[in-house]
Symmetry: C2
Subunit: 498 residues, 2 copies
């Protein structure tokens, strides 16, 4: 085989894999947005069969021969192709260690598990989900044994969403969070609470839909390539950089839930839509890891979206859409939208207490995979930790252990990404401000300079570098959680007059 011929085969292989991912992703998206309720079993069947085809493609003798050849000749490749080949070679070898029947069975289990979780949450009945959770834990443990036999299971899971992340690095991060933020949260709780009553009332969904369009315009999301739909739980999915979808959920009595969903998912969508064009239709044409992804979404949601400058910018539109806000000042809106108070549901948590929700999940996941905690005891342990860290009682499993879809879909080891991403974002803000007038951009209502920095330092690279490398290049220094701690301490000290 000649290198040129091999590279053209590599291109065709990637395009085919991306086509399968498009189809599989769309079937999931459709299941959450448009599919009739009784179509779940049929969807599971299709997902299993097409996953099998996709698995076969990525481990076929031709693929093995191609990637072996290119891997041996990687010195002759340019940087991008060397990275593509390295990633695909590792992924192929991970996959080949998983017996196909088990892989396909796992796809089927995954779909059934998500379905069971939906029903369990709707009926507030953990027992409906429990057997599937148990199977998903066992299946993921086995998958990690196949794929990453040298890593302890939970480290292997962490590594899947953030290459190079270990429990040791997570522990160091969460120790800082625990030590520095828990006292701050206690101080905030002891201070007089801000008034957020203006956020509640009647906010017609038709008007909230207009707000979503406006927010997407402010973020400069290109609507020719980024769609929005409505789902029970907001999420973002990208089929390629040219076809990205976000979703939101409207609550008629509160506009801020959907507003921050749209900004959060919009942050993911900006990242998904902006890998360099030459990376499109390659395995590098998407975000590099979940915590880098969350750094973008939570940067937009909180650091931009809950800043004084941003709220000042969008306040006139809020007043135009929602007459009940007519007399509410920019500052009152800012304070209301930044109220910090321990609460039950992660996706509705404020910026400050949010990371404790993640800490709880991080501790539980480790115990589940270390065998220290059974699925039988999980709800009680969940509730105990909410009491311990957040000082609140969990009244129902629906608002407790059943609130998130992640575990039902096998996303174990994913939660730390949210907290890490938040912390990355704080340090990015610090670096960005050295060259970008962030406050000026918000005051002018033109967020291009902010997007410009993110595109230049994060988005355009897609999967070209390992997350740690990308981050250190962007930050010009190693990651340091103290930027996050300082950002939160400054913000909440001022807000609550501590």
């Amino acid at each position: 085989m000649e290198i040129q011929e091999a590279l053209s085969k590599l291109d065709a292989l990637q395009r085919k894999m991306i086509a399968y991912n498009h189809a599989l992703g769309l079937i999931d998206y459709d299941g959450a947005t448009a599919a009739p309720a009784g179509a779940a079993a049929n969807r599971t069947e299709t997902l299993a069969l097409l996953s099998e085809e996709s698995y076969k493609l990525s481990t076929s003798p031709e693929t093995v021969e191609l990637l072996d050849f290119l891997h041996e000749n990687s010195a002759a490749l340019d940087e991008t192709h060397r990275r593509i080949v390295g990633n695909m070679y590792d992924e192929m070898n991970d996959m080949r260690r998983v017996p196909m029947a088990e892989y396909v069975e796992y796809q089927r289990l995954n779909a059934q598990s998500q379905d069971a979780w939906h029903q369990a949450k709707e009926k507030d009945d953990y027992a409906l989900f429990k057997p599937y959770l148990e199977k998903m834990i066992a299946a993921n443990r086995q998958l990690m044994r196949y794929m990453k036999p040298d890593l302890p299971t939970y480290d292997a899971l962490l590594d899947r969403y953030e290459k190079g992340l270990t429990r040791e690095r997570c522990d160091a991060f969460f120790d800082t969070v625990r030590q520095e933020l828990v006292p701050l949260i206690h101080a905030v709780n002891a201070a007089p609470q801000v008034d957020d009553s203006c956020l509640f009332g009647h906010f017609p969904i038709a008007e909230q839909r207009k707000l979503s369009d406006y927010l997407m315009d402010v973020m400069k999301l290109d609507r020719a390539h980024v769609g929005i739909a409505e789902t029970e739980h907001p999420f973002t999915t990208a089929f390629t950089k040219y076809d990205v979808r976000i979703t939101t959920h409207y609550h008629e009595n509160n506009f801020s839930y959907s507003m921050y969903s749209v900004i959060h998912e919009g942050g993911h969508a900006l990242y998904d839509a902006h890998p360099a064009d030459e990376l499109a239709y390659t395995v590098l044409g998407c975000g590099v890891s979940m915590s880098i992804h969350e750094s973008q979404s939570r940067f937009y949601e909180n650091i931009i979206g809950r800043s004084r400058g941003y709220i000042r910018l969008i306040a006139p539109k809020l007043r135009e859409l929602f007459p009940s806000l007519a007399e509410v000042s920019d500052e009152a809106l800012y304070r209301a939208l930044n109220k910090a108070m321990p609460s039950l549901v992660r996706t509705e948590a404020d910026e400050l207490t949010y990371c404790l929700h993640i800490l709880i999940r991080y501790e539980l996941e480790q115990k589940l995979f270390d065998g220290q905690l059974s699925v039988d005891d999980l709800p009680a342990e969940w509730n105990r930790l909410y009491r311990e860290y957040l000082g609140i009682e969990v009244p129902t499993d629906r608002e407790g252990v059943l609130q998130d879809m992640h575990w039902s879909g096998g996303l174990f080891g994913y939660f730390p990404s949210y907290a890490l991403g938040s912390a990355y974002g704080a340090q990015m803000l610090h670096v960005m401000k050295q060259t970008v007038d962030v406050d000026g951009a918000l005051a002018a209502g033109d967020l291009s300079p902010i997007n410009g920095w993110l595109e230049e330092h994060i988005w355009k690279y897609g999967g070209l570098y390992d997350p740690g490398v990308l981050l250190e290049k962007a930050l010009g220094a190693p990651f340091d959680p103290q930027y996050y701690v300082r950002y939160l301490r400054d913000k909440y000290t001022e807000l609550y007059g501590l």
Copy 2:
């Protein structure tokens, strides 16, 4: 190979083909419902690549070996499996005669052509679509040469949508239509016109959406398996009998357009959702032909949906949703919804003049494929025929030759199905009334007896019999277009007091 082993391989093969069709169909559906406008190129790429995979599957050496074996041993199979094997064997041989590269290229052209048509229609600029139409005609001519080398091109196309249909049979049918219905249409046109002003006004889309839900309930569509969405052009798509989607388009100034779209597509959906369970996940688990499909949709739309009994049944709901109808009597609604008047747009045509729209397309398609008409001259010839048959001037190509999507998607030879289906439906009503109290069912508001007859005689069989066989079994007699002529003559003679 043993028969049992082969049958189990056959089952797996069909499930895989159906999974591909699900993915491909969903990508199309998503393109029409939710996809951002700039995602078309990406969709085309995925459709081409997955079509290629699907093509490979259906013509692979394993598939050929399997179907050859089962075809040779078909005497040992039960009726259902014999039919499955026969259909798949023929289809495989048709496909194998098409070079794969040409097949894949055709999928790509098809997507581009549909995209060009959308733009051409939007901009009322036939020139944008013309080169694609020319290519689609050439490509379909070539495809038919490969697939059905023994049939004249247009007969081959007809045969695709209605096995056994020939130009000769179509001509005989359309001659009857021309001879019997043109004089009736002239007589109706000369009579005093009915007043349909109550159909126009302001009908909020939110209320029209409620009407759609109501109409679907009346038809007893199972919403757990049948979804509804909104698109520019209404259509129905079924991924399996367990996942069927209809779409509609709301016009705020007229509720009847969407209302009859929902009833028409609902008729398709009832058929799609009711093949017997044991046919699901087989190639027989869908409607057998387009004209049988249209017989169901147009039966519901016109024969049921525009009957006095049905309009009486739904009138209270119409008045509840649309206050402007409060004082309009059942009879006035019946007359308004049955107004017959030559018009420009097929999908908005009344029941009587509708078949002339089809006749025009039938004549044009033949000329295009016989080489008697070039795509350059098509718009003028379209306009000439509308003048000749319907006595109206076509002011723009958007309302003329660009109105339908069919040709852009390669659906040549499809249009006759609509007229044939209408005629089949009229004869079905005649037979149904021998055992079912149709008027009584409508008066009682319970359409189960009507659905029951259709399920028993049409729906449950899926693709088990050739359309001609199915029809003759259901009718207990050969198809006779005089039932259709008589049905229309009786209805419009009474309505217009001729």
